[in-house]
Amino acid sequence: MTPIASIEQLAESYDLVIVGAGPAGLSAAARAAELGLSVLLADENPAPGGQIYRAVTTTPVRNRAILGDDYWRGADIVGRFERSQATYAPRCTVWSIGPDETAPGTFELGLSLDGKARIISARQVILATGAQERPFPIPGWTLPGVMTAGAAQIALKSAGAIPSGRTVIAGCGPLLYLLAGQLAAAGCQIAAVLDTTQKGNWSKALGAIPDFLRSPYFAKGLKLMLAARRKLRFVAGVTSLTATGGGKLATVQFEQNGRTGTIACDTLLLHQGVIPSVNFSNAAGCAHDFDAEQHAWVPRVDAWFASTVPGIAIAGDGAGIGGAESAALRGEIAAFGAASRLGKLNEAERDRQAGPVRAELEKKLRGRRFLDLLYKPAPQFLAPPKDETIVCRCEEVTAGQIRDAAKRLGVTGPNQMKAFLRCGMGPCQGRLCGPTVVELIAETRGATPAETGYYRLRPPIKPVTLAELAALPQTEASVTAVVR
């Protein structure tokens, strides 16, 4: 592996550019380089690992029991990548992708590193941008002291930091138990875990139990859940959450079986599962479908994780949530696909080599459906019932405003809503409001999320400064212009 320290060191073009250095990106890069492709792996973070293995090579958390064996498995994946011939650009943001009009069939990518931007080209692209936490809009979620479980995990992994004072963890999904266990092991004072898993989901998930019982998720999940329940105050069947405080978080109010409870706390960690992070694939023009079981927008991909845009593949959780171990395998498969499209190996050879990886992937994904069904968030946490709840944090747009525009102004989809209320127009480009806006419009108009659609996103996928743009190296492009 060759690390890149400054943007000038990048080549003009690569066979394959991979975005994101989590398990999928690392495995795709290693495999593609082993197959003889020139590979660039670009990632925003200072060290490899993505979210799940964040800081696995640099973490100050020395006690292996705190983060658990699953986390440390990331070191092997990083090790293989480091032994490969791939080029690695840490602290590098990829902010645009589009066809290179001078060389049909290839891509132009805009990248920034240390405040300098460049445009390079790629023959194939693999997006391994992973998952994001599902937005969890409750009254008061914008108060200082309220953050996502993922944010707390980042602090723990990268800096060994834990929330100070009394901490409440609320929501649903496997990560909730994992984080509760990790934080408790690290010495965090956890006042309560408020579980919002819907009781009715159990019956829906029953049919998927046989697979789940034979899956790797089962033993691990059971262990986490039992450990968390044994050690911590655990409140199940929570149907409403409100964070309150003047200027910063003071209490969490919750409802359980129609009864109201209040817990004084300094930190509230919210989490209701993860969804594919679609900002990049959407801006790249890939088609997405609404997956009813994962209840999320998922890019449309084939057996090699190729998207509907020829030359762009999507590996890992970005193409549907499957977890870290499956992400690594999906990265491998995507790399085989890219290599064969570039003529590095024929289809028969591709299929032969990818066979065992596929078999392994099948095993890893077994049981996923049960988790999706069991942890599907309750409607009131997808579409907040209280009008004053902020939905778009960038532009401070409330649930009430969105419902009103959908009802009174006949706004039929999120793209029109954007123009009316500016939700989704902020720096996060809808990461934090998109799913909720879709739910609210769908609910108000009596449509499904699939019929309602999602934001059309445009580059820059991540903000890029005017200075970086202004200094972009120019080519001899003839510029025509119009006075507006």
Binding site: T412, Q416, T465, L469, A470, A477, V483, R484
Partner: protein, 375 residues
């Protein structure tokens, strides 16, 4: 059932601000209207433009239409029951050097002779007073004080809703495939069946050349995709919209602090796919212009860039008025990336022409005959 209406006095093809405004004004005159739009109202140029409401720096052939429109903008809530986000803080054309300023003087003098007084010269001191953040080196410019900006999609949809409330039938998601004569009517064939009317308005924007071809009036329409960028919120530093004379820039700060940077650098439109491709090297030129003109902006994060699909005519003027070949056919397209401001007024004038055969607002030089007849 107006929803399923198949016949009307007027069929308007295209649901941009022009089509919606014409539909509204026809409905106000008591005509029955069907508006047919292939996507949704304001999906393209009318919904994603910079929102400039500008009389400043317009071609003289457009000025009467622009003036008529400006009167409507200043009373827009009266017309469509929605303020359309319209604000009027003026627009300023900044001269970057003495030669620029000399050009401005000549232009304002020419307009004065023609009896137009909306553009006024300002010196360096007044420029600095109005636009404190502008680079020290700019010697002055021109201001049009009644100019401003509005929210494009909101405005377009407000026209649509108001037209609908007055009885116009709005068919969104319906694509016109053919226009032909059928006795004394026009038959407009769509993917949702046929519609009939004695009069049709071609307000199909970047797709209008296809309608014109059906009418036997082919036009040299170029499909363009002017690009825009918007920044994260910055402290308030500028009220009016700023444009340049020499280089391409249109620049506006919204109430929420975000800054819109336009200027007409072009991306690539793919009109049959409804998408545009951005050209970052050209956007970099816009960024460089802002870098020179507004040092305060240098660290601003650009959070989004986009482009709309527009129609440009070779002379940068719209095609507006009666068909050169047929009774009962009218054109209202090719606004060449400066049609948003013209929408309200052009719709009023078009409805007047349809209803009475003529209008007092001069539209000389905008008719389709300039492309279809050989001199």
């Amino acid at each position: 059932m107006t929803r399923d209406r198949r016949n009307a006095d007027v069929i308007v093809i295209g649901g941009g601000i022009h089509g919606c405004s014409t539909a509204l004004h026809c409905a106000m005159r008591g005509l029955s209207v069907i508006l047919i739009e292939k996507d949704h109202a304001g999906r393209h140029a009318s919904g994603v433009n910079a929102g400039g409401v500008r009389q400043l720096a317009r071609h003289v052939a457009e000025i009467p239409l622009s003036n008529a429109s400006m009167a409507l903008w200043h009373d827009i809530a009266e017309l469509v029951d929605d303020d359309c986000g319209f604000t009027s803080d003026g627009q300023v054309l900044v001269a970057e050097d003495e030669a620029d300023l000399e050009g401005c003087r000549a232009r304002v003098a020419d307009l004065t002779l023609r009896g137009f007084h909306h553009e006024e010269m300002i010196d360096a001191r007044e420029l600095r007073a109005i636009v404190p953040a502008v680079s020290e080196t700019c010697p002055g410019g021109v201001i049009s004080r009644r100019d401003g900006a509005a929210i494009p999609l909101r405005a377009t949809q407000a026209f649509k809703r108001k037209a609908e409330s007055l009885g116009a039938t709005i068919r969104e998601g319906v694509r016109v495939t053919k226009v032909e004569k059928d006795g004394s009517n026009w038959r407009v064939t769509t993917d949702a069946g046929a519609f009939l009317a004695p009069r049709i308005v071609n307000a199909a924007g970047a797709w209008a050349d296809r309608i014109a071809s059906d009418l036997g009036e082919p036009v040299p329409l170029e499909v363009i995709a002017p690009m825009l960028m918007i920044t994260a919120p910055l402290p308030a530093f500028i009220k009016p919209v700023v444009i340049l004379r020499g280089r391409k820039l249109s620049f506006k700060q919204f109430d929420n602090g975000t800054v819109l940077i336009g200027g007409g650098h072009l991306g690539t439109p793919l009109r049959d796919e409804n998408v545009t491709l951005l050209d970052w090297r050209k956007l970099a030129i816009s960024a460089g212009t802002v870098w020179d003109l507004f040092p305060i902006m240098r660290g601003a994060p650009v959070v989004r860039a986009w482009a709309g699909i527009e129609a440009r005519m070779p002379d940068d003027l719209p095609v507006f008025g009666k068909s050169a070949r047929h009774e009962g056919a009218y054109h209202q397209f090719g606004f060449s990336a400066h049609g948003f401001q013209l929408g309200p007024g052009a719709g009023a004038v078009m409805a007047e022409i349809i209803a009475t055969g003529r209008s007092n607002v001069p539209i000389d030089g905008l008719d389709i005959a300039r492309f279809t007849t050989t001199h």
